[in-house]
Amino acid sequence: MNHPTPEHLKKTARGEPVTLLEAVSEGLFEEMVRDDSVFLMGEDIGVYGGAFKVTRGFLDYFGDLRVIDTPIAEGGFTGAAAGAAHMGLRPVVEMQFMDFISPAYDVLTNYIATSLYRGAGPMPIVVRGPVGGGNRGGPFHSQNVEMAFFHTPGFKIVYPSTAYDAKGLIKAAIRDDNPVIFEEHKALYRAPTLREVLPDEDYIVPLGKARTVREGSDLTLVTYGAMVHKSVEAAKKLEQDDGVGVEIIDLRTLLPLDEDAIVESLKRTGRVLIVHEDTRTGGIAGEIAIRLNERAFEWLDAPILRVTAIDSPVPYAGSLEDYFLPQVEDIVTAGRYLAAY
């Protein structure tokens, strides 16, 4: 701890805008400074600072007992995180790409998510890493992983769309006593349009609370992650071209789902469109739809619809991937249809 804070982690202190990636870095850094029990594990996070450089400078500052370069063994080090969490540490595990969380699926779903229930105590673990498509990464460097964990009771799942939220949510995730899957979209990491000046003081964004991105009275659009920004674009178009007022809800936390926020909005608009980048069948839209049936069926003036990626692996070639991913035009079409319903 004799090292000074690395300059690139002092942007907020200097009042400079930060990217979403820098916001995550700052959040991690501050939590590690605040709480000795927080430590990091992952592949190439130390010397190299992580494949995306989220932890650049951390090794020098915190030393190799708190920033651990692991073998390529996602199951092994995630399991080790569980052991460390048992002993009162608060591990933050990086998956180099979240696609590679799969080898840890067993220990995450069977051990970590069930620990509290089995009487083995809380599991204050964050598993974080880059997700999402649009970067020509092909089938193994582009996945969204929320639905692999959404069905397992015990997890929380977080997926920020702005720098402010990313910092506040990663801090909240680290302080949470439940295991949190934390997804960071690669296309948002360094997006210049997402750079913003963050508050210099310590803040968190509470888990489980959605954010109203914009208000509108004709249609509720529920989304998260990179799709928030495509949805905003679509909403602007719908407003300008069609005079349709679109209310956008950014879920931020997917589990637990802030259904109150959605229900309240639905009660005002009568229409719901869900947009997710993840593939279609078994995506989160289904759960939202049935919860709205349970809680607000009578307010529905139109079917609950969704715009999503198609049901296939993520293809590599740009033309294929663009088709695979939901595009602004798809959202506009769906919104227009619903508004006219």
Partner: protein, 360 residues
């Protein structure tokens, strides 16, 4: 008072007579507890599966005896398997909890949510396992990583069946522990069977020490029916682990004398092979040695046996009389903060629009 003749000045493997008899008591207790379990199952008090460790008791007992067992959260840790109940008891796991767990009692450590030795006590250093094989090696790697990071002189011991070694979790956990030089002791329960499949179909090595070499860790193979030998081997391993020499393996060579679980008639086992191992019963062997070396008189051993039986009887009786959990508890304890179970989970009706709203 217990001794026939005074123990020589030099302790036996560093153990005094009380300790030697403690080992004996643990062996007897393990067997008695598991036999009691069978009775309880026959009487329909246990609904789930039950497991026996007959022939393997010395491995669990000798190993656990070599560690620093505390009840205030400062000692070593152990993650037993169903075949290492002896280690659980030595670490302070209560007999009555053992029975409560199998019987799914509300009063048990997991309040009926989990079964058998799957329970955790951080004060005592007990890390009950989960079923997926190999996982506990990963978890214990993390526990012992925390010992290393904090500079504590503690070790963690994890039992794994020989054939759990085929799992990726075993490999990833052991390798992680090895490269991180975690003070972890892996006890390989080489009982020669994976359920019905011979260990030779799970691995081509004859001794797991050959595998240890592939992880660059220290290892030793020991006769798992000889409680003293196990104790000594594990003492050495624990010493090395505590001295910063990193992860250690101790292989326990013995045999799974009963079926995989109660329902398994083990008709795939060669009776002659089995007979050899029945002759090498760890309790008989230790008893003989105690008497031969005159560490205690037969009457003393008998008293210990009777005491162990009585302990088991009483504990089982107590557990049997205790209540099952209230059904609704099933929904609690999934999250540390309460997350409301959704309406209509059971019988709440979904929301209706107020008639006043209906004209909106």
């Amino acid at each position: 008072m217990l001794s026939v003749r005074p123990m020589s000045d030099s302790l036996i493997a560093g153990l005094d007579q009380t300790q030697l008899l403690g080992l004996y008591h643990s062996l007897i207790l393990t067997r008695a507890a598991e036999e009691r379990l069978e009775m309880l199952q026959k009487q329909d008090h246990v609904t789930g599966e039950i497991y026996r460790s007959i022939g393997q008791e010395a491995g669990a007992v000798g190993a656990a005896f070599a560690l620093n067992r505390q009840t205030d959260g400062t000692g070593d840790f152990v993650a037993p398997t169903v075949r290492a109940a002896g280690a659980l008891f030595l670490f302070g796991g209560e007999l009555v909890d053992f029975f409560r767990q199998y019987m799914g009692r509300a009063t048990g450590p997991t309040e009926g949510k989990e079964t058998n030795i799957h329970w955790v006590d951080f004060q005592k250093g007990i890390m009950g396992p989960v079923s997926p094989l190999g996982t506990m090696l990963e978890v214990m790697a993390g526990i012992t990583l925390s010992f290393k990071v904090r500079g504590e002189s503690r070790v963690g011991m994890v039992f794994c069946g020989d054939d759990a070694s085929s799992t990726g979790a075993w490999h990833e956990g052991l390798n992680f522990s090895a490269v991180q030089r975690c003070p972890l002791i892996l006890m390989v329960e080489a009982n020669q069977w994976a359920f019905s499949t011979a260990t030779g179909k799970n691995t081509r090595v004859r001794s797991f020490t050959e595998k240890a070499a592939g992880y660059g860790i220290g290892s030793e193979s020991v006769d798992g029916t000889d409680v003293m030998a196990v104790y000594e081997a594990v003492s050495g391993a624990a010493k090395r682990a505590r001295a910063g020499k990193g992860t250690q393996m101790v292989e326990l060579r013995y045999y799974r004398r009963l079926g995989y679980a109660k329902h398994d008639p083990q008709d795939y086992v060669d009776p002659d092979e089995l007979a050899i191992w029945v002759d090498r019963d760890p309790i008989d062997l230790f008893e003989r040695r105690i008497l031969e070396e005159s560490w205690a008189a037969e009457s003393v051993l008998q008293k210990i046996s009777i005491r162990a039986e009585e302990e088991c009887r009483l504990a089982a009786e107590q557990a049997t009389g205790e209540p099952a959990p209230d059904g609704q508890e099933a929904g609690k304890g999934v999250y540390t903060d309460t997350i409301t179970q959704h309406p209509w989970t059971r019988t709440d009706g979904p929301y209706r629009r107020d008639s006043s709203e209906l004209d909106t």
